[in-house]
């Protein structure tokens, strides 16, 4: 490990100050405010909130629907990952499924609700095709559908990733040991995947428990915690102390989830080695799994289909003449183009500053002997636990009187902290795999530490930096839960503007803006993927 240099300490201290100011302080304030009453500090707020039957119902509802979402999502994500990793399905089809399943990640969750409405509502596209409405979409059904679509990509990525690290040779061994299909499946797939499956369940649960966009658009009369929190904070009779209590209570399942994840970690297999091997041929298995994957994918995409159709029509579903008017309206409206510009600004600064922060933290953590470098792991665990709404709310409470209120900065900082964990872990993972003696070698060849970082470390992790870029950018384009308490008239973003447009039921504008986000993200993603590919070709 490298000797500690003064410049490392400077960076270390600066980063810690950032997290002190924008993570620990807001959290402390939140906790304090939740106990604050007119007569000093007490548990009265908690008592009031927990004895409010409406809020309690919202909590029970949230737990119920998030639990169900988590079960459905985990099963679907597992089946699709299984189809991609353990079958001989036609390869190009596998790539299509793998790409397609990630599409919802490019859209803000608030859009899902409108897409569902325009697909399954009484006059929706799918309803029209089928002739009659399938089910009542407002409330439970719509929420469930939205949550599943929202959590599926994340759960899929997690499960698919662990699938790649499973040694498929065990399937062959199990076959040769004359296992029946059930025992073989349990021992070679389910058992090594237990940790990942549990992780996917917890992740889906927390994501749906804390999402604001979907219930805001399609919640109907089914009240959930996120909408209740919004109403308590920004409704007709705002009560910041009660809001703080709800936020703290919202943290409880997230905390519980992290504890559970750590417990599940023990079930993860660590194979010495894993190798690619041919899959045993089984046509029926391939056909069934391929079919399921395609159905899930098509189901998901068909819901978004309307988004690509409706804004091109005069007035879906009544006047189906093709028009570009809605696009022209959006692009000629100062208001909407300004909002799009705002989103780009926020995404850009979030990404650049976020990468610097996460990358520096990871370097200090993995490649220096700095005392207290574990602090970053602790920070990343905390940010992983924090729902965006809770973080945003705590900023509102702490910075409401300050000059940060209503600025882009506060939104950017919120995004950076909210999404810190994943880019940090990406950087950490790639940096820790690099040869540990590069800095020493660089030093012996006359480089300063910064110079080695600049000349050796960064070029060798370029692909990771690109991945971090794509993650930060896309997430800050789509987030709504994190920023809903922080936007102002002058810093309005596309995702919060959609909420405003919803108020006027301007669905075409909503879809046009969603498409703008979608294509922006798609382009960023494709460019990043291309650059990453080029990087990896260059390195081998």
């Amino acid at each position: 490990m490298l000797n500690v240099r003064p410049e490392m300490k400077v960076i270390y201290t600066s980063i810690l100050i950032v997290f002190l100011l924008f993570l620990l302080l807001p959290m402390g304030t939140l906790l304090l405010r939740s106990f604050e009453t007119a007569e000093g500090y007490s548990l009265t707020n908690y008592y009031n909130v927990l004895s409010n039957s409406e809020l309690l119902t919202a909590f029970v509802n949230s737990i119920k629907i998030s639990g169900l979402t988590a079960i459905i999502t985990t099963i679907l994500a597992f089946m699709i990952a299984y189809a991609l990793n353990c079958t001989n399905i036609y390869r190009p089809l596998k790539s299509v499924i793998k790409m397609g399943i990630l599409i919802p990640m490019l859209l803000p969750t608030i859009t899902y609700g409108f897409a569902i409405m325009y697909s399954f509502g009484n006059q929706g596209l799918i309803t029209q095709l089928l002739g009659k409405p399938l089910f009542d979409i407002y409330g439970f059904n719509g929420l469930l559908m939205g949550y599943v679509i929202y959590t599926l990509p994340a759960a899929f990525l997690l499960i698919n990733n662990s699938f790649m690290y499973i040694d498929k040779k065990f399937i062959i061994v199990s076959k040769l040991m004359m296992d029946g299909s059930m025992r073989s499946f349990l021992n070679t797939i389910i058992r090594p995947m237990l940790g990942a499956l549990g992780g996917a369940f917890v992740l889906s649960f927390i994501l749906s428990f804390t999402d604001y966009g979907i219930p805001a658009s399609i919640g109907g009369t089914y009240s959930v915690v996120a909408t209740q929190l919004y109403q308590v904070m920004l409704g007709s009779i705002p009560n910041f102390n009660h809001g703080a209590v709800i936020a703290v209570l919202m943290l409880v399942p997230a905390l519980f989830g992290v504890v559970l994840l750590n417990y599940l970690e023990r079930f993860n297999f660590h194979y010495d080695k894993f190798s690619q091997i041919e899959m045993v041929e089984n046509k029926i298995r391939d056909i069934i799994l391929g079919f399921i994957s395609i159905i899930v994918l098509m189901g998901m995409l068909s819901i978004f289909l309307v988004m690509f159709i409706a804004p091109f029509l005069t007035s879906f579903p009544y006047d189906l003449t093709v028009t570009m008017q809605h696009f022209i309206n959006v692009f000629t409206s100062n208001d909407l183009t300004a909002v799009y510009k705002n989103s780009l600004i926020v995404a850009f600064f979030t990404t650049v500053v976020g990468i610097i922060l996460a990358y520096s933290s990871a370097i200090l953590n993995t490649r220096t002997g700095l005392k207290g470098r574990v602090a970053f792991d602790v920070v990343s665990m905390i940010t992983n636990t924090l729902p965006g709404m809770v973080l945003g709310l705590s900023y509102l409470l702490l910075f409401n009187g300050s000059s940060l209120k209503g600025t882009f900065t506060i939104i950017i900082v919120c995004n950076i902290v909210h999404y810190f964990t994943t880019p940090y872990l990406m950087a950490k993972n790639s940096l820790s795999k690099m040869n540990p003696s590069w800095e020493t070698t660089g030093g012996l060849l006359g480089d300063s530490w910064f110079k080695t970082v600049y000349r050796v470390i960064i070029p060798n992790s370029a692909s990771t930096v690109i991945e971090m870029f794509s993650y930060y950018f896309i997430n800050s384009m789509v987030t709504i839960s994190g920023i809903i308490f922080l936007v102002s008239a002058q810093t309005s973003l596309v995702s919060s503007k959609i909420k405003e447009l919803q108020h006027f039921a301007k669905f075409n504008e909503i879809f046009v803006l969603s498409l703008l986000i979608f294509f922006t993200n798609l382009i960023v993603k494709l460019i990043c993927d291309y650059l990453q590919k080029k990087q990896s070709v260059k390195n081998f």
Partner: protein, 250 residues
Amino acid sequence: MLKLENISKQYHSKVVLENINLEIESGEIVSLLGQSGSGKTTLLNIILGLTKMDNGRILFNDQDLTNVKMKDRGFNIVFQDYALFPHLTAYENIIYGLKNKRGSVSEAELQEYIDFLELKPHLQKKIGELSGGQKQRVALARTLVMKPKILLLDEPLSALDGVIKESIKERIKSIAKEFQLTTIIVTHDPEEALTLSDKILIIDQGNISQFGTPQEIIHHPKNEFVKEFILKQLQIKRQNIFQLFGEQYA
């Protein structure tokens, strides 16, 4: 007797194996020797039944196995990295298959295998606690209790240290003798192949370069490839060792 007739295999129009003909007698140890990419592993997988061949037939004791599924062929394999279940103990791994094939091996026979492979002290250990050689022996035991008709070994020695390597070599030889078990080994190391097996099949770019006993290969190399890539390596090794010990030890 295992007989391969005209076996060919292509992957995406790239020829991997071409017209392989081969006869292996019962109880023989045969090594498939070749460089990486030569097709030796594909041939092993074809014999195992994992990979489908494009042309040709496989006969075992005059029975046509060409279209018999992997599971029903009755062959078994020990993979290079052993593929032991990490959540089970050594003993649980050994008896893993017996749960599916009750009564095929008696308690006494099982003990015999365990004693033969000297695994008694390690039975209750988790896989992670075993050394490389111990893992190799557990994997062998797990496979042997299934009483395979042919034992396939994929690079059985490559993950082992020097001394253990020699002892496992002896172990494989004695297994073949003790249980009259036809054994097919994939390896890229000429020394290993020539000192371990009764016969060696040298494969080069999907074709049989030479098939014969170690003596035949050493003394009558059939072509340039065998001379250049197989014998030369051994000669250099011999040279180095002679230099170390002095000629008198030859």
